[in-house]
């Protein structure tokens, strides 16, 4: 064996050892940040959705709790105070003029006034809110179901997603979320305007927030000011179907 051969090998071994050490120390970031890994991981959200839907009945209800099982204090999260001029004006009038247009792929677009939302047939449910961070809080929510509202608007056969547009924003990016029709027509998917028997507090999304009980907290859009039926999520802000999905790579499917 010649020196010429040994030296590169020694260099290679040193390099490999340093590389391995570095890899371990950096938490395997070289692998973590590789495009191949990212492509692979991109498949997992869809896989989770298909599998979880396959092994649970389409209408399976999230557990509903007794009044005594509620959290003594239900913490707030995310945006807790939209400070736009328009929102402040609505706040001043106690949201009396708030209304939610139902638009997009519908035969009869609706303009749901807050009074209408409060007078439609109501569903009340005591459910657990599971944050993606790991904590849970239990509260009671009341409001009309989304399914009948979409039927009332004459949802087109082309529609595949329902998008919720919100009055709050992070910097110049408005919050929004989206769900597919399985969750849109789920009996526990409601436009909640009441929480624990009282008007929805500002911090929890006054005057109306979504409750989509089989998904994590970031799907529970607050300060809802628009509902839109679409065929595709492309072209809506970042195109990933939600604020956190666009900016922080959260999974669109938030059932796990």
């Amino acid at each position: 064996m010649t020196d010429k051969f040994i030296l590169p090998r020694r260099r290679f071994l040193t390099g490999a050892a340093a590389g391995t050490g570095g890899l371990l120390l950096s938490g395997c970031d070289a692998i973590v940040q590789s495009p191949v890994a990212a492509d692979m991981l991109d498949q997992v959200g869809g896989l989770n959705r298909r599998f979880q839907r396959a092994v649970s009945p389409r209408e399976a209800l999230a557990k509903e709790y007794r009044p005594g099982e509620r959290s003594p204090l239900f913490r707030t999260n995310g945006n807790t105070f939209p400070d736009s001029a328009a929102y402040l004006r609505h706040m001043a009038t106690n949201f009396a003029d708030w209304s939610i247009p139902v638009t997009g792929l519908v035969a009869r677009p609706l303009e749901l006034s807050i009074e209408r939302i409060r007078s439609l047939p109501q569903r009340s449910q005591i459910t657990r809110h599971d944050c993606v961070e790991g904590w849970s809080a239990i509260g009671q929510w009341q409001g009309p179901q989304l399914g009948p509202i979409l039927k009332m608007a004459g949802l087109s056969d082309k529609a595949r997603y329902i998008v919720f547009r919100c009055a709050d924003n992070f910097g110049d990016r408005p919050y929004y979320e989206s769900i597919d029709l399985v969750d849109a027509f789920h009996p526990q998917t409601i436009l909640a305007w009441q929480m624990n028997g009282e008007r929805l507090p500002i911090g929890h999304g006054a005057p109306v927030r979504m409750r989509i009980e089989r998904q994590l907290g970031y799907k529970q859009a607050k300060f809802v000011q628009g509902i839109e039926a679409v065929e595709s999520l492309d072209g809506i802000y970042g195109g990933k179907g939600g604020y956190w999905e666009d900016v922080a790579r959260y999974e669109w499917y938030a059932g796990i």
């Binding site: 950096s26 938490g27 973590v32 692979m40 557990k63 599971d130 904590w135 849970s136 089989r214 796990i256």
Partner: protein, 279 residues
Amino acid sequence: MDKEAESLPPGTVIKRHRLSTRVWHWVNFVTLIVMFMSGLMIFNAHPRLYWGQYGANPDPAWLEIGQRNGEGYLRIGEASVDTTGVLGVWTNDQGQRQAWAFPGWITIPSGYSLAEGRRWHLAFAWILGFGLLFYMLWSLANRHIARDLHIRKREWRPSHIWRDIRAHAKLRFDTGEPGTYNILQKFSYIGVIFIALPLMVLTGLTMSPQMDAGWGFLLDLFGGRQSARSIHFITCWALVAFFFVHIAMVILAGPLNELRSIITGRYRLPDRGETEERA
């Protein structure tokens, strides 16, 4: 006792681990490291644990990792220990102090990202869950469970267990029956395959709101999502403990021979001197 095996002279190379065991072992080696490190990243998003159906910042946590006035602490119940530098507060390689529960050198990714941690964790969860399921079924079919893991009546005798504990204390790990597991080995492998790993999978699923709707029994089984999260965390550290004891045993029992047997399946029977305790 198998007369044929008993008569094999020391130094004989026998076939010890099946291909299915070897493949599953190394797949798990990678999978569990990724799941552990990405799991710690997820924990960092809310480093508090609760018992019951709900639990958030206003509720009492039985375990908490945090920082107060720049000093990191781990609190379990009433007991709190200063963990500055490792837990609660650590310094990254740019010299910046970070207020995370677990430091970046042990998380995936090393920079804070709950979303990426979850993506890695939930991707490898498929490998862990289905790998475990297939290994269990395969081991039932090829009689690995019946032949190697099944605890015989005589092994349940306290005197037998005590003798094995004493043998381990003297660093003698041989069973006297070539290529078989001793009782403490059986306990730990059964504990990992049939208790710890299934617990990880099931408590993991209990944290999924969709699974809780579909499989409501999960919440009843563990007493709530937050209890499941706590059990997930505790079982994780039981597996970490197993990992270190397992490696210590490999080193003490002859690392090259042990490694060869879990890579190629071939295992050299130890010298008589190492097994005379059994004679």
